[in-house]
């Protein structure tokens, strides 16, 4: 190991550690009672009939942050599409169909619908109970990949028209922005949650535009996670360059 780097690391690490420890000692004590912004957020959430305050913060009070977050995900998908594209010196070799033990196959195929339903449930209940578009979207995308586990890559590819997922991803981002613009056109403000009635507290349709934004995020995340995993799977399983030979040798 490089001597200089270790010295730098020792100096910098010690300095930063001292700084952080000193700061920790000045922090308000863990579990303290003063959370002004948090208390305001809870009140604002209840005023808009949203049971899950975190959803209210994410999709209403700080919906603009979530717009940025969605764009990051969208950018990462575009980035991975660009970075993991097939170059001229690479070719695709369909992998051999895998033998999967029967119990594993059965388990995977049984769990798949359960996982999909769970994903949708977590998305749909986003503004009520813990969960939301992001968590549910990842679960739904993961569920799809049980096919890889239960069968083989070919089976997954057949039910996974990538173009559809990419379109879903982009459409979901667009619809989030369009919902935001609707607030602007209605004369209030960008991403204002004033278009729809707030509904009855603790029901699926409560919270004005929150369920819509939540659904958009769910679609986006499911699409994005699928596309991301697809490109990595392609690289790991299918795409080969000139120096690689057939797998399984």
């Amino acid at each position: 190991m490089n001597r200089l780097r270790l010295w730098l690391l020792a100096v910098g690490g010690t300095g930063l550690a001292a700084l952080l420890v000193a700061a920790c000692l000045d922090l308000p004590r863990f579990g303290g009672r003063s959370h002004p912004y948090g208390d305001r957020a809870v009140h604002a959430s209840l005023r808009r009939h949203i049971a899950n305050t975190i959803a209210s913060v994410n999709f209403d009070q700080r919906a603009y942050d979530t717009l940025g977050e969605m764009s990051i995900l969208f950018a990462a998908v575009l980035g991975c599409v660009v970075l993991l594209r097939q170059t001229r010196d690479e070719h695709r070799a369909p992998p051999e169909p895998a033998e999967v033990a029967r119990p594993v196959r059965r388990y995977a195929l049984l769990v798949l619908p359960v996982a999909l339903v769970t994903g949708l449930y977590v998305i749909a209940h986003g503004q009520l109970s813990p969960g939301g578009g992001f968590q549910g979207g990842v679960v739904a995308a993961t569920a799809l990949h049980l096919l890889y586990l239960g069968a083989d890559y070919g089976a997954l590819e057949r039910v996974r028209p990538l173009g559809v997922y990419e379109t879903t991803d982009a459409l979901a981002v667009s619809s989030y922005v369009v919902l935001g613009l609707a607030g602007l056109l209605a004369g209030t403000a960008f991403l204002a949650n004033t278009l729809l009635p707030y509904g009855t507290f603790n029901t699926l349709s409560s919270g004005g535009t929150v369920p819509l934004l939540n659904a958009a995020v769910g679609m986006e995340v499911a699409g994005a996670a699928t596309v991301l995993l697809a490109h990595f799977l392609d690289q790991a399983v299918e795409i080969e360059d000139a120096t690689e030979e057939e797998p399984g040798k």
């Binding site: 190991m1 780097r5 270790l6 690391l9 690490g13 930063l16 550690a17 952080l20 420890v21 700061a23 920790c24 000692l25 922090l27 004590r29 863990f30 579990g31 303290g32 009672r33 959370h35 912004y37 948090g38 957020a41 809870v42 959430s45 209840l46 049971a51 899950n52 305050t53 975190i54 209210s56 913060v57 994410n58 700080r62 942050d65 979530t66 940025g68 977050e69 990051i72 995900l73 950018a75 990462a76 980035g79 991975c80 970075l83 993991l84 209940h125 009520l128 109970s129 813990p130 939301g132 992001f134 507290f201 603790n202 995340v221 991301l228 490109h231 990595f232 690289q235 360059d241």
Partner: protein, 119 residues
């Protein structure tokens, strides 16, 4: 004990961050380095949530409790952490994609052997 408890979560966050940095600086494998970056990031989750905790509080999710019946923890930091987790996952994915391309173009994933850009 109670005094230690006042700062312990913050110290754990600081420790995790520094540990991740150490791993990142001494890594011999780029995928390992990306993993260490993920460790660094988990420090930010811990710090944020520790800051928002309220002793005796519960989650500000009112699907199964009455609003106002129990003290609640800070929802804002939770929303921030959620955003942060998404950011972390996407950054990890992008960096791993870059590592794959480095493996292809340089034939190595050991940072000590990547010696093209210097001076």
């Amino acid at each position: 004990m109670s005094h230690a408890m006042d700062v312990l979560p913050y110290l754990v966050a600081a420790y995790v961050f520094l540990t991740g940095c150490y791993g990142l600086a001494t890594s011999r494998h780029l995928i390992h380095a990306v993993g260490c970056l993920a460790v660094c990031q988990s420090a930010t989750y811990i710090l944020l949530l520790a800051v928002g905790y309220r002793a005796g509080g519960t989650a500000p999710v009112f699907s199964d409790i009455e609003p106002g019946s129990r003290p609640v923890v800070d929802p804002v930091v939770q929303a921030l952490t959620l955003t942060d987790i998404v950011v972390g996952a996407t950054v990890t994915a992008l960096l791993l994609a870059l590592v794959l391309q480095i493996a292809k173009r340089h034939g190595t994933v050991d940072p000590d052997e990547l010696r093209e850009l210097r001076g």
